[in-house]
Symmetry: C2
Subunit: 417 residues, 2 copies
């Protein structure tokens, strides 16, 4: 019988899809780190190359000591290793080149021009290892008028279009509250790398992959570009409604006790008239069933404020969880607005392994979302983000076959830490 006491998630796995894939990881902050973390969740051996002084700047987004805000670093660097190398020393740079020689993938998201200045341009790297998948993530694309500009998530989201479709119809553009410019970009790159690795098993050929955050965001905005195709106009803002939707009720409805996130989203379908009739029964307005004023999706859309008020009058008397229960069981699409604390406190995510607790050598335990895909019913295991240089010895031994004496000498020389 398996010992389930040691592990709160009895059914946990360690995905081995990318077992044996070696990734030299120069990424920092979020877009690049998301890409290599996705590879790590799927089983790749991902080694962060960090400068011995401060490492990935994502380790110290907040002023103060290094690692004073470890959470930001944790969420983007789970399941990775770290080696601290001084790449400004010839010995350090050569060590990294030795790692590249034996690697399958290299990923970087430095500012434009930086990797070349470090001496690891694609031309150099493919000489060392012609079979490597060399992946680069930038803010703006090569050939864009802004290709040399710096970018961060907010800038890429503004320039990629998400601000323009978020916010109230008569208000200014607004930032979506998630860093999709970073995480979304990392994900398309991870998908491309995994596909390239599949092909490479046959051909052994390396490739240079490049993605820009602005371009990746446009990919995630295909729905909005479809709207432009249909209307010939810019896709607009519609608050929490869907612009141009031809049915109602569809939108946010306020719930008791009226806290900042006490709302449910209800989305009756234009294709299923029963949604409306069932909803009328739930909210105690059977008297309106068959009333022509609200008798079709289009008629309800025309009288949307009235329709919304009919529903809101009832939702305000229920908590979002009660509303979810009572409306959801009638087969009407509904979801509560949940905040990160509510999601954090919902034990069902832990029971399913969607949220797991990171046990770190130094920092306190931290619960965070893991890779969301189950394989044969099992989640993959969360492992700690690395301390700066935590795996220097291990990696030099396992990747480069250096013995303890050689490693000590490298440390004494200041090439690694």
């Amino acid at each position: 019988m398996p010992d389930t006491t040691a592990d709160p998630i009895a059914n946990i796995a360690e995905f081995n899809f990318l077992d044996g894939v070696k990734v030299v990881d120069f990424t920092q902050f979020e877009a690049g780190t998301t890409c290599t973390e996705a590879l790590a969740w799927c089983g790749a051996d991902v080694v962060k190359i960090e400068n011995p002084k401060l490492g990935d700047p994502g380790r110290r987004l907040r002023p103060g000591l290094p690692d004073d805000d470890p959470y930001y670093f944790h969420v983007f660097n789970a399941n990775k290793k770290s080696i601290a190398v001084n790449m400004k020393s010839d010995t350090g740079l050569n060590l990294v080149k030795d790692m590249i020689r034996g690697a399958d993938v290299m990923v970087e998201n430095f500012a434009p021009g930086t990797i070349e200045r470090l001496g690891l341009s694609y031309d150099v790297v493919k000489e060392i290892n012609p079979g490597i998948i060399y992946a680069q993530i930038k803010g703006f694309g090569e050939g864009s008028p802004y290709e040399k500009n710096l970018s961060f998530d907010m800038i890429a989201q503004a320039a990629g279009g998400t601000f323009s479709v978020t916010g109230e119809p008569d208000g200014p553009p607004m930032r979506p509250g998630i860093s999709i410019g970073d995480t979304g970009t990392g994900m398309v790159m991870a998908m491309t790398i995994a596909s390239a690795l599949y092909r490479r098993r046959e051909t052994g050929e390396g490739h240079r992959l490049q993605v820009a955050m602005q371009d990746a965001i446009m990919h995630y905005m295909r729905t909005n570009f479809a709207t432009t195709g249909r209307t010939g106009k810019a896709a607009g803002r519609a608050g929490s409604k869907i612009a141009g939707s031809q049915s109602a009720p569809k939108g946010l409805f306020p719930c008791a006790p009226g806290g900042p996130n006490d709302f449910v989203y209800i989305s009756t379908s234009a294709a299923n008239e029963e949604h409306w009739n069932r909803l009328l029964r739930v909210v105690g307005r059977e008297d309106l069933i068959g009333n022509e004023r609200y008798g079709s999706p289009r008629a309800r859309a025309e009288h949307e404020p009235e329709v919304d008020e009919i529903v809101a009058k009832w939702t305000k008397t229920k908590t979002k969880f009660e509303a979810m229960e009572l409306i959801g069981k009638e087969g009407i699409p509904i979801g509560p607005v949940l905040d990160t604390m509510e999601l954090n406190n919902d034990v069902t995510f832990e029971q399913r392994g969607i949220m797991q607790t990171m046990i770190h050598p130094v920092h306190k335990p931290f619960k965070m979302p893991t890779w969301p895909v189950r394989v044969d019913g099992r989640p993959t295991r969360l492992k700690s983000s690395p301390m700066l240089g935590q795996h220097t010895d291990d990696v030099l031994r396992d990747w480069l076959k250096l013995d303890g004496g050689a490693v000590e000498k490298l440390k004494a020389d200041g090439a690694v830490k």
Copy 2:
């Protein structure tokens, strides 16, 4: 010399990373279709199995004739094939099972319970093909209290947390204007499938993969969960600002001539004090260089409204493109807020192959975003979304080796169309 007249993008490629991978595609709307489209962009042979009457409901989101709003379908089904099969006939269902027998991947995102009712549960499918990667996308996870509920992008985003972090600090939660609940979920599944295929080259083993939109969204919200780790509170809303940011200026600034999307996002770094000094020069306020009131990131954050006004007074006199040019060239991170029409009209995206025009057998040409990753400097080619049943003959011939007579008989029997 290559013939560049035939192709507006001289340097275009057709990614072959997943060449030879056969995907039986039951997906509809956005989340599932994004997953299989990602596989298709990377070279897989993706065949949509559609019912002969109306096909993927994504073909007819708007009332009226089928295909009256083809754009929505186009953007999620580029580079795929379509076969129209009546799965309610035994012959039709057996044909699909024959396709599954020779396939590498099967993907579905039906409502909970539907694929089982169609007779293609995992237990059935793995009997037919033990080596298949069987992928399922649902709204809520297996084991969630809501596992039987229907979901759409808006519902998944509400329940996954994005609404709770979008909007003004004192306003209601708000929907981010992009369908990240759908497209983001499809992307993590595509990444997992590609990784599973990599491993399968060695083992031949099949797997069941499952992802829920709510769970996938939480993954994309890792930054916000990091905030909760740090503060012990729910991550909040901050309009277009970053909640708890400790530097300024950082945010949206209004530009001439004052249209709904005439704004730039400027993000000076707390780690680079020169950003502020250079910005003062650009906006003609050299007199404030060294002024202690604004002399550190934290001091500026304390006087943020004043700091924003200093910058806005200048940005209001420039268009967003002028501001981008003048501020960007000083190395200060900045991006214009662009809408889908502006992005659509910017020819540099076409020149780089990021946007391409779909030439469809019936519908008018349509420009849309393509897969954003370049391989060896080249974008992949956009091919048309399929008409319903467009490839019935081709697929029956290529996948099942049926000759013309056999196909005619299937059509006469009403099994395919």
